[in-house]
């Protein structure tokens, strides 16, 4: 009887460890393996805005994927964004911005907006800029 109990306990212990291992692999290990490496910060999925065309090229179609000939979607991003003075900006103190000084004018691009589109088109003075992130 005692041997049977010991065997059953061992079986339950093994099953518990197996379940925990599967849970750990699916929630922790796999996402890290699949997201690959990014030079900047992680990209964020954004809904495709109106105005999408395609272009052909030899690219990766997913992080960590191989180079392949593919037709990829191109999403239009904003052009000539409006700006406000520092006092009118409703940003949090420690949120990230990308700052630039061009033609003597400082301009801040909140990462919260760059992350929506990855790149935007803007102008400071006469200089057309493309902040990316």
């Amino acid at each position: 009887m005692q041997n049977q109990t010991q065997s059953r306990f061992s079986l339950y212990a093994f099953l518990a460890v197996a379940v925990l291992a599967v849970a750990a692999i699916s929630t922790w290990v796999l996402p890290r393996l699949l997201t690959g490496k990014q030079g900047a910060a992680p990209t964020e999925e954004s809904a495709a805005p109106a105005g999408t065309r395609t272009v052909k090229g030899r690219v990766q179609t997913r992080p960590g994927g191989p180079l392949e000939e593919a037709e990829i979607n191109v999403h239009e991003v904003p052009v000539d964004l409006p700006s406000v003075g520092a006092a009118e900006a409703s940003l949090e103190e420690y949120e990230l911005v990308l700052g630039v000084v061009v033609e003597g004018q400082a301009m801040a691009y909140p990462i919260r907006y760059l992350a929506l589109h990855e790149v935007v088109n803007n102008r400071v003075g006469e200089t057309p800029l493309a902040p990316t992130w």
């Binding site: 990766q60 191109v74 964004l81 420690y94 990230l96 700052g99 630039v100 907006y113 990316t132």
Partner: protein
């Protein structure tokens, strides 16, 4: 940060759903050439090989940027609030919190720089241990590295105090594009 010019011609970029070395691509509306963000040039299409004009920029907290430039303007995107991005680990080099977070981790962040063809990466954890500002010779030029832990930023200036184009990047991402890059190590003091 790039100037949207090819010679004197202005170009307009859109976001492309493709990657090169796990990094972003964009496409110009004028020629549909594909451009690599970290390579800094067009990688296919009629403008293949054309370099992007780099403009020096700084990634930091809104608080610090406003201190440096009280007269700064701020870009807005009408109708979109976006989600503020933060660094969750404000002490580089320390273990980040175990709880999963959608904010970013500074423990493997650093400043990547290419000066005079010489690539070097300054991990924040090394800048924490170093005495900054740190002046050194890179690619034959004098460069001063600044670091502000409270603003989670580092930047480089030339001998005249002008901001140099550098990028805050995760180390592996920097190495993907600069495989021969040197890594800065703060000098250890023997006790």
């Amino acid at each position: 940060m790039y100037a949207r010019r090819v010679g004197e011609q202005e170009v307009t970029f859109d976001f492309a759903e493709g990657l090169l070395q796990n990094n972003l691509l964009f496409v110009d509306r004028e020629t549909s050439s594909i451009w690599s963000q970290l390579h800094g040039q067009a990688v296919s299409g009629p403008l293949e090989g054309t370099p992007l004009q780099v403009v020096a920029s700084m990634q930091t907290t809104w608080k610090f940027w406003r201190q440096l430039h009280p007269d700064t303007r701020v870009v807005t995107v009408e109708g979109e609030e976006g989600r503020p991005y933060f660094y969750r680990n404000r002490t580089p080099g320390t273990r980040p919190p175990k709880k999963r977070s959608t904010t970013h981790d500074t423990s493997v962040l650093g400043l990547g720089l290419v000066v005079g063809g010489h690539a070097i990466y300054f991990p924040f954890r090394e800048l924490e241990r170093a005495t900054t500002p740190l002046t050194l010779k890179l690619g034959g030029e004098q460069v001063t590295i600044h670091y502000r832990q409270s603003a989670l930023t580092a930047w480089a200036e030339d001998a005249e105090g002008n901001l140099l184009p550098g990028v805050l990047a995760y180390e592996q991402g920097w190495r993907d594009f600069n495989p021969g890059s040197e890594t800065y190590r703060a000098a250890t003091v023997s006790r």
